[in-house]
Amino acid sequence: MDTILVVVEQREGKLNRVSWETIAAGQAIAAHTGWTLEAAVVGSGAAAIAGEVAAKKVAKVYDVESARLEPYTPDAFAHALREFLGKHPAKLVLMPHTYQVRDFVPKLATALQTTAITDAIGYKYEGGKLLFTRQMFQGKFVADVSFAGSGPYFVTFQNGSFRADKVEAGAATAPIETVNVDIPDGVMRNKPQEVFKEAKQAVDLTQAEIIVSVGRGIKEQKNIELAKQLADALGGELAASRPICDNGWLPMDRQIGSSGQTVAPKLYLALGISGAIQHIVGMKGARSVVAINKDSEAPIFEIADYAVVGNLFDIVPPLIEEIKKAKG
């Protein structure tokens, strides 16, 4: 019987919550395939996290330990997991698609002469074959991707692809095995410094009930004012996709997406936003989405409740007037 291994992410002794989604994915695939599900925590002094994971429905939890795994470096993580997988082979290795994982997984897979399907959003099990689905062309298409070769097969799952609250608890606590890995001198070539925040975030968009967000479709900096007027009329906050902040048209602390803030407002009104994956992950928790975009195939429409295909510069001015009228 083959083994599925979920590598749980931890930072400074705290489990990254997105790891529960990956455990849920592992449990679903295990139920489908009949394979054994195991989990591993990689770090220094991560026993407490291993204990947390052992309460879930998994056959076994490994605590992969070395003092050299803290702080994170891609060299040490790839080395540790390579050594671990040499002793405890797995057919399928699952991880969340975090910035940390994407930093070391391609290196690890290459060192093992295998491959990773990254940023997957789901899987299919058809006729004994596992396929993983992932978005392509900025979300315009979804691809079914299969593995060739003998594995181990690495898959990383996009944030929000599985539900953390679907994780099944175990009937009994799973056994925990500590695996000490040897990371020799000279393996780690990078010297990471402290993690820091640029500046105190001035705006906390996570608390906003209404967000008007602008993307490339706004075209010029001077047009931001129009979006601002719409946000003001609605009593909401103004936000943006990454390119707008890269251009300096709005400050970085108003950016929504994987590198910015993750929001869940009552209303997310997207103006000229195509809906690239990196943006969607930051706003798909919104209770309702209204999208205005001239491109009828824009991926943002996939998740919109109300959609307007058209030129935002034609639609927003009368929209502001109507909102003002409705509010009296």
Binding site: D103, D119, Q201, M252, D253, E297, Y306, L319
Partner: protein, 260 residues
Amino acid sequence: MKILVCMKQVPQKDAPLKLNDAGTWIRDDVSYEVNEPDAFALEEALRQKEKHKGEVVVVTAGPARAMQVLREALAKGADRAIHLEGDAFVGLDAYNTARAIAAAIKDEKFDLIFTGLQSDDYGYAQTGVILAEILGLPHATIIMQIEKRIDQNDGGIRVKRELEAGFFQFVDMPLPAVLTIQSGINKLRYATLIGIKQAKTKPMRKVTMAEVQSAVGGNLQKIEKLHVPQKSKNTEFLEGPPAEVAKKLVEKLKNELRVI
């Protein structure tokens, strides 16, 4: 500093894409452009050269049309280009693309190799890191800043990595190294007329699949099928002239979504 920039040609962002008859890839009768993060990687390489002298070399793998990306890079100031040219390079997975590039540059010694952090078509975010592993070099991903570490005088660099949710981290690393560059690290320049003229005389080395074939193997992953995403929501399209659409939308905001 001798810097290699890996660049890729991808379909234009707002180009309408259609699937081929087999549903395995898009029809290639679309407009193409340079992958956006790669443009920032090139800009960063040009800025590093301006600071520290040296050479900027650009490389791409793809059919004849992909040469446009190299032409533009030469016009912006890159010194020479390498084109792994041919349809045989289309559809290679990230592992094999990296192996082909590694084979094509095996006689060169670069201090830094840049890639964009991911491509707008596949979005794997892997080729740069795989290339580092194949070449035995250290790497760092999603880079927002690169400085020579003058204080240490060890020939290394200090880079600023972007982490999630507004966090950053400085990382010290030795050269040579591979870095994947985040969009927005700098402000892009435009090619000048004189640059465009000069580009025509700059060296462009062509590499065929036959020359790197021994380094390339079968794909380790395969796209079986592409399809249009299934809607997770029942989207209601509001249609009509702008004034009418505005009225309809406000009615929804008020009575359905109850946010007004």
